[in-house]
Amino acid sequence: MSRQVRVTIAVTDDHIDRMTAVVERLRSAGVSIEQTLDAAGAIIGSVDEATVDELAHITGVAGVEREGQVQLPPPDSLIH
């Protein structure tokens, strides 16, 4: 039973102007594309857990990460 994880992907500089090509390659690799961020050069999507590490080898991919979370302490906390 495969597990889907959300991933963030950075595109290489030389592919900033042809992100659609990278998007297509990611789709072929099984990534379900959620957002394409043209100015930042990033793609957000979800994919099988088992496939994550392979994505880094795709042409045009500068980096891949499992999506992280951030959490602020409550507003009445001492430290922010």
């Binding site: 930042a40 990033a42 980096g63 602020l72 302490p73």
Partner: protein, 454 residues
Amino acid sequence: MADESQLTDFEVHDGGTTGRTLVVFAEEATPETVARVTGVAPSQMAHSSDFGIEAMNVEEMLEQSRAVYFDELKAAVIEGAPPMAAATIEVRGTSEPSVLAMEPEHYVFALEQLEPVRPVVAPGATKVESSRDYVRGFRDAASSLYDQLFEAPEAEAEEIEALATPRWADTATLTWGLAATRADRSVFTGRGVRVAVLDTGVDLAHPDFSGRPIVSTSFIAGEPVQDGNGHGTHCIGTAMGPKLPNRTRRRYGVAGEASIFAGKVLSNAGSGTDGGILAGIDWALRNGCRVISMSLGAPTRPGEPFSPVYEAIARRALDRGTLIVAAAGNESRRPSVIRPVARPANCPSIMAVGAIDAFAKVAFFSCRSSGLAGGEVDISAPGVAVFSSWPRPRLYNTISGTSMATPHVAGIAALYLQRTPALTARDLWTALQRNAVPLAAPRVDVGAGLVQSA
């Protein structure tokens, strides 16, 4: 920045307290104020002056009294947490804050904070030893401080007195943070410079921003950009609050004429995802923002490398003229616990901002350079007891964190960019560091020093 409860599976003490709280008062604090803040009546408070030249055993005193007040230091050690422990320090109208600093009242002694790997915790000796070591260290530090002050020969008294006097303080018309960074002396206002604050949004109808355009958008599904938390409004206030606020005489904002871009990447409950944050960065870049302020992040473990995704994006932003500044993180509990710079501030291409207090010391919570590439604290800024805007009806609040230090740098970056619009982002980074005031603190804690305005 990070919610401590996320780091722990358990609490060692009931309520997660150390059993002690250290509070430092302003020069003007009256006995009534001390009693109110500490929740300890004067009759229950032991005074250092009662002891004359005799050595004081803090621990013994705390067995008999609920609190000990160091008259020369204007500081108190309280058994337990003061009634205001969970609340922030309020500042009303033109009154000055009564409290300059407060040691953390919440203390969760999780082994996770002391060891790099989440352990399987068995009840018993391991937990107790870690807690006891910490409390012992705290007691020793307080006793040592007393010994230095009262045991020292007269010749050193002046020097020691200086240690107890803050270098800056809020006045009726200016926050200590703006004084320390000399923002009040600057002729620049950030006019013409677009600054994005990616946070919990903003109170769009706050009187201090009426008549000032705010470009805003929410990346949180189901939540409008209107700030239901406070954090975002506070950070925007520090970076870009007006020179003449509407409901207070105290100026708290650096770049009062910068163009405000408020991106809500954190929910009203304070949570966010990398996807939302990256979308926020993308939006800021598309809107020509030259500075992006991120008072957010996640704790890192020692040895953890930086995010290749944030780094690629931040480096590209730098290349294209946008400086991203982020909070170094609040996971430390100095002196016992010192944690590395948080993610994504630990990226080489993101400027990591540490926090200092009004004594020009590293804030007890501020994270330290990790020793890895990119993991340096690059610069520091005021981050303890920072007064700024807050959503209605409260309007203003005084809180602490590297989250508060970060927008000082963002606002100041806008001043530099107004002065020199053609400044590249890398040259801006260099200029901020070069003009910082060195502090008597290790570089691993404060980077190039205390940021200074253009």
